[in-house]
C-alpha cells in the first residue's frame, strides 16, 4: 500500500507541472502530424502534375537518336522535361526548379552509332528524386541503346552496315517495339500482409510516422521520469523516506510505478490520437498493442530510474535523456529505415529495444499480423527493462543518498 502512496504522490507532482505535460503530449502530436504530412509524398491537394522535373540540355538537336530519346522521355508519366540552355542549366538545378539535368552532348547520335556515347545526368544522388531519375533514366537509356545495337545488328544481317538509312530504319523499328513492350506488366508486386481487414489502412502514411514518433517521444519521457528521483534527492525527501520503516525496494518500486504510469499514459494518449485522428488502426490488435506498450513503458521507466540515480542536477537529467533519445531513436529506425543503413549499424540496431518496439508496432499496423507477433518484441523489451532496473537498484544502493 505504501508503494502506491509513493506512486500517487509522484504522479500528483508531475501533473502539476504544466510544462512537462506540454512536452509529453502536445509536442509528439504536432510532430506526428508533420511527419505524416511529409511521408505522404509531398503532394499538394489539387496538384495536378506529380512528375519530377528533368532539365533537358540538347546539344544534338538534329540527331535521330536524340530525337527518339526526347520522344521516350516526353511520353513518360513520371518525369517532366524542361528544356534548358547550357548557360542556365546549373542555376536552374541549384534553384531547385528541376531535380536533375540531362545533358546530350554534341554529336551524340553519330557517336552512338559507331562508338560508345555518353549522356550525363547531373543530380543530387543523395536525394530521393535524384535516385529516382538515375534509375528511371538507366532503364530508358538501356532501351534506347538497345535499339541502336539492334539497328546495327540488323544492318549487319542485311549486309548494309555502312548504310545509315538502313541502320536508322532498324533503329526506329526497334524503338517502336520497345515502346509497345510492357515489361512491368510481367512483374506483379504484392504486399505480404497477414490478414487484410475489409477496411485496411495499411497504406496510411501515418502508419509509419505514428509509431516512430511514439517511440521517439516516449523515450524523451525519460526527462520526466529521471526528474522524479532527482527531485526527491535534491529536496532531501528521499533521505527522509529512507529513515522510515519502508524498505528501499518498496521506495524504488513506488517511484518506478509512477514513472511507468506517466509514460504509459503518454502512450495511450498518442495511440488514441493516432487511432481517432490519423486513422492508424491500433485497435485492430488491442492486446498486442498493449503488450508492446507495457513493455516499452517499463523499459523507459527503468531507464528513467537509472538516470535519476546517476544524474546530479536537472541539466544532467535533460542531457542524458536527450542523448538516450537520439541514440535509441536512431538505432530504433524511427529516423530512417534501418534497411537503408550500413551492415554494422543494422546489426547493432537489431539489439536495441527501440527497434524491437518498432518491429512490434509495424507487425500489427503494417504487416497486419496478430498477437503472436507481439510476444517476441515484448519479451525482449521487458528483458531490457529488467536489466536497467537491476542496474538502477545496484547503483542506488552504492550511492550515498
Amino acid at each position: 500500500m505504501r508503494i502506491l502512496d509513493v506512486t500517487l504522490k509522484d504522479l500528483s507532482q508531475i501533473f502539476r507541472d504544466k510544462r512537462s505535460l506540454f512536452f509529453l503530449v502536445a509536442m509528439p502530436i504536432v510532430f506526428t502530424l508533420f511527419m505524416g504530412f511529409a511521408y505522404r509524398g509531398g503532394g499538394d491537394e489539387g496538384e495536378t502534375d506529380m512528375r519530377i522535373p528533368l532539365g533537358w540540355v540538347n546539344q544534338d538537336p538534329d540527331g535521330i537518336i536524340t530525337q527518339q530519346l526526347y520522344e521516350m522521355l516526353s511520353k513518360s508519366d513520371s518525369v517532366k522535361l524542361v528544356e534548358l540552355s547550357p548557360e542556365i542549366a546549373n542555376q536552374t538545378l541549384q534553384d531547385g526548379d528541376v531535380a536533375g539535368v540531362l545533358l546530350v552532348p554534341s554529336g551524340f547520335s553519330e557517336l552512338a552509332l559507331e562508338n560508345p556515347a555518353q549522356l550525363t545526368l547531373t543530380t543530387d544522388p543523395a536525394s530521393t528524386p535524384g535516385q529516382f531519375l538515375n534509375q528511371m533514366l538507366r532503364t530508358t537509356v538501356t532501351k534506347l541503346m538497345s535499339s541502336v545495337e539492334i539497328g546495327r545488328l540488323s544492318a549487319e544481317a542485311v549486309g548494309m552496315l555502312d548504310d545509315a538509312t538502313e541502320i536508322n530504319t532498324a533503329f526506329i523499328a526497334a524503338a517502336s517495339a520497345w515502346a509497345q513492350e510492357d515489361t512491368a506488366a510481367r512483374v506483379k508486386i504484392e504486399l505480404a500482409i497477414g490478414k487484410k481487414a475489409e477496411s485496411w489502412y495499411g497504406d496510411n502514411p501515418y502508419n509509419q510516422a505514428s509509431p516512430g514518433i511514439l517511440v521517439m517521444f516516449v523515450i524523451f519521457g525519460l526527462t520526466t521520469s529521471g526528474q522524479i528521483l532527482l527531485q526527491e534527492r535534491k529536496s532531501r525527501t528521499l533521505q527522509r523516506m529512507i529513515t522510515t520503516s519502508m524498505p528501499a525496494w518498496q521506495i524504488i518500486l513506488g517511484h518506478l510505478l509512477a514513472m511507468f504510469g506517466v509514460v504509459f499514459l503518454q502512450e495511450i494518449l498518442l495511440i488514441l490520437f493516432g487511432q481517432l485522428a490519423l486513422g492508424v488502426d491500433y485497435l485492430r490488435q488491442l492486446l498486442a498493442v498493449l503488450l508492446i506498450s507495457v513493455g516499452l513503458g517499463l523499459w523507459i521507466a527503468a531507464m528513467g530510474l537509472l538516470i535519476g540515480v546517476l544524474a546530479k542536477d536537472d541539466s544532467q537529467v535533460t542531457l542524458f535523456s536527450l542523448l538516450a533519445m537520439f541514440f535509441f531513436s536512431a538505432l530504433g529506425g524511427t529516423w530512417f529505415p534501418l534497411e537503408a543503413a550500413g551492415g554494422a549499424f543494422a546489426v547493432v540496431s537489431r539489439l536495441m529495444p527501440s527497434a524491437w518496439a518498432m518491429t512490434g508496432y509495424q507487425n500489427i499496423l503494417i504487416r497486419g499480423l496478430g498477437l503472436s507477433s507481439a510476444w517476441l518484441p515484448a519479451a525482449i523489451i521487458l528483458a531490457y527493462a529488467l536489466g536497467f532496473f537491476l542496474l538502477a537498484v545496484w547503483r542506488f544502493r552504492k550511492s550515498e543518498v
Binding site: 539492334i150 512483374v187 504486399l191 537520439f326
Partner: protein
C-alpha cells in the same frame, strides 16, 4: 573594455555549463556520428547496406519444343545466387508460395520472388497473364525496389532479345532476304553479350557507362555531400539553440541577483546589454567553427569555398542572436524559457525544413521556409555545400542580416524597457 569583460565572463560560465556544452557540441556531433555510423559504408562507394534477404520459388519449366536451353525462370533464380551479388543479397530457395509467405511473415526474408509455371512459354508467346509475383515485406522499400529492378532488368534483356529477333527478321524480309537460321543465333548471342556488358558497366565501371551520374557538389563524393547536409542541419538547429540558451543567462542573472548588482556599478546599462549580446554572438560563432572543423576532420565534409562558409556562418550567427534576443525578451523567468525556447525552436526548425531536407515537401510548405531565419540559413548552407560562389551567398546573407537586426532591435527595446 567592460563589454569584453562581461562577454568573457559569460563565455567562461558557458564553458562550465555541462548542459550547454552537451547541447552545443556533444549532441550535434553525436547525432551526426550516428548517421555516419549508419551510412559510413557508402562512403567509398562500396555497398555495405544491410544484406537483402530474397526467397525464390521457381516453378518455371520448359516445354519440349522451347527454343531456349534454360528456362528464363532459372536465369532469374540464378541471378540472385550469383557470386557477384553474394555480398549484398542472401538468397534462399523455397518449394512453394505458402512457405515463402511464411518466411516473409517471420521476417526470414524481405522479398519473395514467385516465378509461376510456364512463365517462359507465356513470355515467348507474348502473353502477360502469368506475371512474376514479388511479395514484399510492407515495411521495406529499398530491398523490394532493388529486387524489382533486377527482375525487370533481366526481363528487359529477354525482351530485347525478342525485339532484336523480330526487327532483324522484318528488315531481312523488307530487303528481300531470307532469315539465315545458322547466323541468327550468333546475332542474338552478340546482342546478349552486348546487353550484359552494357548493364555491367552501370555497376562496375560507371564512369564508362552510357549514362554518367555527376553531382552538382563541388568536390567529394555523394556520401560526403549527404553528411554535409546532415551536419549543416545539426549546425543550424543547435546554433539557434546555443544562442537561445546563452541568452538565458540574462534571466538567470536576474534571478541570481547579479544583474541588479551589475546595475549598481558605474557601468552603463547599454554596455552591460551589449556585453551579454556579444557573448551570445561569440558562443554561436565558436560553436559553428568547432563543428565545421570537426565535421571536416571526422566526417570528411567539404564546406565549400572559404568566403562562402564564412558568410553563411556569420549570417547564421547574426540570425541566431537576433532570434534569441527576441525570444528571451518575451519570457520572464528561466522556468518559462524552457518550453518557449525548446518547443519554439523545434517548431521553427520543423517549419524551416531542417528535418526533411531529403523529403519532397509541398510547394506551400517550402514557401514557409522563406519566412523563418532557419530556412534562410539552410538555403545559405545548401549553396555553400554545392560550391556556389560568394556572389550567390549575398542574398541569403543580406536577408539574414536584415532579419537578425530587426529581431535584435525589437528584443533590445523590450529589454531596455524591462531593465530601465
Amino acid at each position: 573594455m567592460k563589454i569584453l569583460d562581461i562577454a568573457f565572463k559569460d563565455l567562461l560560465r558557458s564553458t562550465r555549463n555541462f548542459f550547454l556544452i552537451g547541447m552545443t557540441l556533444v549532441a550535434p556531433l553525436f547525432i551526426t556520428g550516428l548517421i555516419y555510423f549508419a551510412f559510413g559504408g557508402l562512403q567509398s562507394g562500396n555497398v555495405s547496406m544491410t544484406a537483402i534477404k530474397v526467397g525464390v520459388v521457381n516453378a518455371d519449366t520448359l516445354t519440349a519444343d522451347a527454343p531456349l536451353e534454360v528456362p528464363i525462370g532459372k536465369n532469374i533464380r540464378d541471378m540472385f545466387f550469383d557470386d557477384s551479388v553474394k555480398s549484398w543479397i542472401t538468397a534462399s530457395d523455397y518449394p512453394d508460395e505458402a512457405s515463402a509467405r511464411t518466411a516473409l511473415e517471420s521476417q526470414e526474408i524481405g522479398v519473395a520472388v514467385i516465378i509461376p509455371q510456364a512463365f517462359t512459354e507465356k513470355l515467348l508467346a507474348g502473353q502477360t497473364d502469368t506475371p512474376i509475383l514479388l511479395l514484399q515485406d510492407p515495411t521495406l522499400t529499398i530491398a523490394p525496389g532493388v529486387v524489382r529492378d533486377m527482375v525487370t532488368s533481366l526481363l528487359d534483356g529477354v525482351a530485347g532479345g525478342g525485339i532484336a529477333f523480330r526487327v532483324i527478321s522484318e528488315r531481312l524480309q523488307a530487303n528481300g532476304l531470307t532469315l539465315d537460321s545458322a547466323s541468327l543465333p550468333g546475332l542474338l548471342e552478340r546482342y546478349s553479350t552486348w546487353y550484359a556488358g552494357f548493364q555491367r558497366a552501370f555497376f562496375y565501371t560507371p564512369q564508362n557507362a552510357a549514362l554518367v551520374l555527376t553531382s552538382p557538389v563541388e568536390s567529394g563524393n555523394s556520401f560526403q555531400a549527404m553528411m554535409g547536409l546532415v551536419m549543416a542541419g545539426q549546425l543550424i538547429f543547435f546554433s539557434f539553440f546555443t544562442g537561445a540558451f546563452s541568452m538565458m543567462t540574462f534571466l538567470q542573472e536576474d534571478e541570481e541577483g547579479t544583474l541588479a548588482r551589475l546595475f549598481t556599478t558605474p557601468t552603463r546599462r547599454t554596455l552591460i546589454l551589449t556585453g551579454k549580446f556579444l557573448a551570445v554572438f561569440l558562443a554561436v560563432v565558436i560553436q559553428g567553427l568547432v563543428l565545421l572543423i570537426i565535421g571536416h576532420l571526422l566526417f570528411g565534409v567539404h564546406w565549400g569555398k572559404p568566403g562562402s562558409f564564412i558568410l553563411s556562418l556569420l549570417g547564421q550567427a547574426i540570425a541566431a542572436v537576433g532570434l534569441s534576443v527576441l525570444l528571451i525578451s518575451l519570457v520572464k523567468t528561466s522556468k518559462q524559457a524552457g518550453p518557449v525556447l525548446g518547443g519554439g525552436l523545434t517548431f521553427l526548425g520543423m517549419l524551416s525544413g531542417l528535418f526533411t531536407t531529403n523529403v519532397k515537401m509541398p510547394a506551400a510548405f517550402n514557401a514557409i521556409g522563406n519566412f523563418t531565419p532557419q530556412g534562410w540559413v539552410l538555403k545559405a548552407w545548401k549553396l555553400t555545400l554545392s560550391g556556389a560562389p560568394l556572389s550567390q551567398l549575398l542574398l541569403p546573407f543580406l536577408v539574414l542580416l536584415a532579419m537578425g537586426v530587426v529581431m535584435f532591435l525589437i528584443g533590445a527595446v523590450l529589454f531596455r524597457r524591462r531593465y530601465a
